[in-house]
């Protein structure tokens, strides 16, 4: 779809003048740095800002660098697991806290769920460091569990708020109708409530995913030996020299995300 065509749509009640232009500009602005980032991943020199000719040297380097590869894969794994759990429990919580008369203690529930948003990361990080140290000493367990639960906890509000926003003011009449037709509560949920919520769940999951993918401070304090994630690996580089190797890794991640998108749409369109 060309930009011109998007901008010159015939009159429609949906159109608000200027909105499409702002949106196109936003998308453009969103991708401009990404293009720069990808371009520099092909830089021959060691700099992120000085172009010295085309080369694949940083991809070769990244391919040989086990540390950065495993950090990238670990980040993806962590974000997938944490975002999935967080979105599931956040969906349940959103169903419990919207659409009906507020129950006793609902404000408390709301506040608690949003608590991870209210403190700077470093504070949660220090608190978790002390808390997990006790568990580590007592059990000797050093696995991924710590990072997973820590990430899940701070991802919950990011998944919860879009889902809640979706549900707010949404009608109960369809569900009532289904119940009147003797649909079981599960059937009603699966066939009616869930599809209605889907855009909110989708938005919540994507937010939780990128938030987990970008987290640095909590991961830095919670990680056990060998559990480098991409952001903590980057943090370690911050004081020294950041090379286009990281651009190469980021470009690979971008490519993966685009494959994901393509796959998703392929499956979706086949189902329709």
């Amino acid at each position: 779809m060309s930009i011109a065509k998007l901008l010159q749509r015939p009159f429609s009640v949906k159109r608000i003048p200027g909105f499409a232009s702002i949106a196109i500009f936003t998308f453009f602005a969103l991708y401009a740095p990404v293009i720069i980032l990808v371009v520099y991943s092909f830089n021959q020199g060691t700099s992120l800002a000085i172009w010295e000719g085309f080369s694949l040297v940083w991809y070769q380097q990244a391919l040989q660098n086990e540390a950065v590869q495993s950090a990238g894969l670990r980040s993806l794994f962590l974000a997938s697991v944490a975002a999935t759990i967080a979105t599931t429990v956040a969906t349940m919580a959103a169903l419990a806290t919207t659409r009906k008369k507020p129950f006793k203690g609902q404000t408390a529930v709301y506040t608690l769920i949003n608590q991870p948003l209210m403190v700077p990361e470093i504070v949660t990080a220090v608190a978790l460091l002390i808390f997990f140290a006790i568990i580590k000493v007592a059990t000797g367990y050093q696995g991924m569990g710590y990072l997973i639960v820590a990430h899940t906890a701070f991802c919950i509000p990011f998944a919860y708020l879009p889902i809640r926003a979706r549900l707010q003011g949404m009608d109960l009449s369809l569900e009532r109708a289904a119940a009147d037709l003797y649909a079981t509560p599960w059937m009603t949920f699966k066939r009616i409530t869930l599809p209605l919520m889907a855009p909110g769940i989708m938005a919540g999951f994507m937010l939780a995913f990128v938030i987990s993918l970008d987290d640095v401070v909590i991961s830095e304090f919670v990680k056990t030996p060998g559990q480098e994630t991409l952001p903590t690996y980057m943090l370690g580089q911050l004081r020294r020299v950041v090379t286009p190797e990281v651009n190469a890794i980021s470009s690979v991640l971008l490519a993966i995300s685009i494959v994901f998108v393509a796959l998703f749409f392929f499956l979706n369109s086949r189902r329709n």
Binding site: A49, G226, L235, R239
Partner: protein, 344 residues
């Protein structure tokens, strides 16, 4: 869709889990990020059969907090000299007696009886360097071996200065600029230091790390920086020069230590011995671009480092460098207040 996602996830889980696989003879090193030469580790693994896992930290304080909390699972840490006495007094380090190890003979005599570890009973030199000033000589032709570059900047450089946000180093430089000793609690002097820092900050553009590109591309012209980092800048822009302030500049050394609750003690000791070998020490230097403190490593060093004025301290400046140990808590509290005032 769901099944495919699950398959993909379990595949990822396998990869993520494999890194933590148990092996015979392993070693968990906790070191500064981007500081350990992968070739050094490959060589160590090939020679000893020990499987090494490297984990990064970004500051001495993060490392100290994590290790002090317990249950960390690391065997080796590489703290800066000022933190070594803290680690020792908190009982976090093991007395491994590197001074009795086979390769100890290679340690330069300068680095044996050091203030933070007399006779090297705990630690082994990793790398050392200095914190001084950086200047782009295209824009400023005057004397660059002075802290006046950032404390009382010449007009040419005003508004193009960056100071690394390293509280201890910057306070130390500023105090020595006013003729004091680092870690002083002389309030008359400290007032002068604070007022002059606040006044100087007007002319600074930033307080940040990782400025290689900004200096190379001349967004920044001067500031406080480390020697090895400045060396890398010069390789990309020949106008960049490193100055050793005559009023006094800061020296530091990072050292390899074994943790008191290490699980792989023999492997850790083997690593301490390993890094004191000249050829291995040269590998360390070739990667992060700082000196290592091991005699006989020079022949193995990269050519461009052998004569670099950032790496080999010119004789006329050698006497002005100072190692600063951790300041007493009440002095540290004063410095934090001044630092906060500076950045408010």
């Amino acid at each position: 869709m769901k099944h495919k996602l699950l398959t993909a996830l379990s595949g990822l889980a396998l990869v993520a889990g494999s890194a933590a696989a148990q092996a015979e003879g392993q070693l968990n090193i906790f070191n500064w990020g981007n500081y350990t030469n992968p070739d050094l580790i490959t060589k160590f693994e090939a020679e000893t059969g020990i499987k090494v896992t490297i984990t990064d930290y970004d500051s001495n304080d993060t490392a100290l907090s994590k290790i002090k909390a317990g249950g960390h699972g690391f065997d080796i840490v590489v703290p800066t000299h000022g933190y070594v006495p803290i680690f020792i007094s908190e009982g976090l380090l093991m007395e491994t007696r590197p001074d009795q190890m086979e390769n100890f003979k290679n340690v330069s005599s300068t680095w044996v009886d050091v203030e933070w570890d007399q006779g090297r009973r705990y630690t082994v030199p990793w790398q050392w360097g200095s914190t001084g000033v950086v200047v782009n000589t295209k824009y400023y032709k005057g004397d660059i071996n002075t802290s006046a570059i950032f404390m009382d900047p010449p007009d040419e450089l005003k508004g193009k200065i960056n100071v690394v946000p390293e509280m201890g180093d910057v306070m130390g430089l500023a105090i020595m600029y006013h003729g004091g000793e680092p870690c002083t609690d002389d309030k008359v002097l400290l007032k002068k230091v604070r007022d002059s820092l606040v006044a100087a900050k007007e002319h600074w553009l930033g307080m940040d790390y990782g400025n290689l590109e900004k200096f190379a591309k001349e967004d920044l012209w001067a500031g406080v920086n480390w020697n090895g980092s400045t060396f890398r800048m010069r390789l990309q822009n020949e106008n960049v020069a490193y100055g050793y302030p005559k009023e006094g500049y800061i020296l530091w050394m990072d050292s390899v230590a074994v943790l008191a609750d290490a699980k792989n003690v023999d492997e850790a000791k083997a690593f301490q011995n390993f890094v004191m070998d000249p050829e291995n020490a040269a590998l360390i230097s070739a990667f992060a671009r700082y000196s290592n403190g091991i005699d006989g490593s020079e022949p193995f060093m990269p050519e461009d480092m052998k004569t670099a004025p950032e790496v080999v301290v010119p004789a006329e400046h050698a006497g002005n460098g100072k190692f600063v140990l951790a300041c007493p808590p009440d002095v540290q509290a004063l410095y934090t207040r001044i630092w906060t005032d500076l950045q408010k």
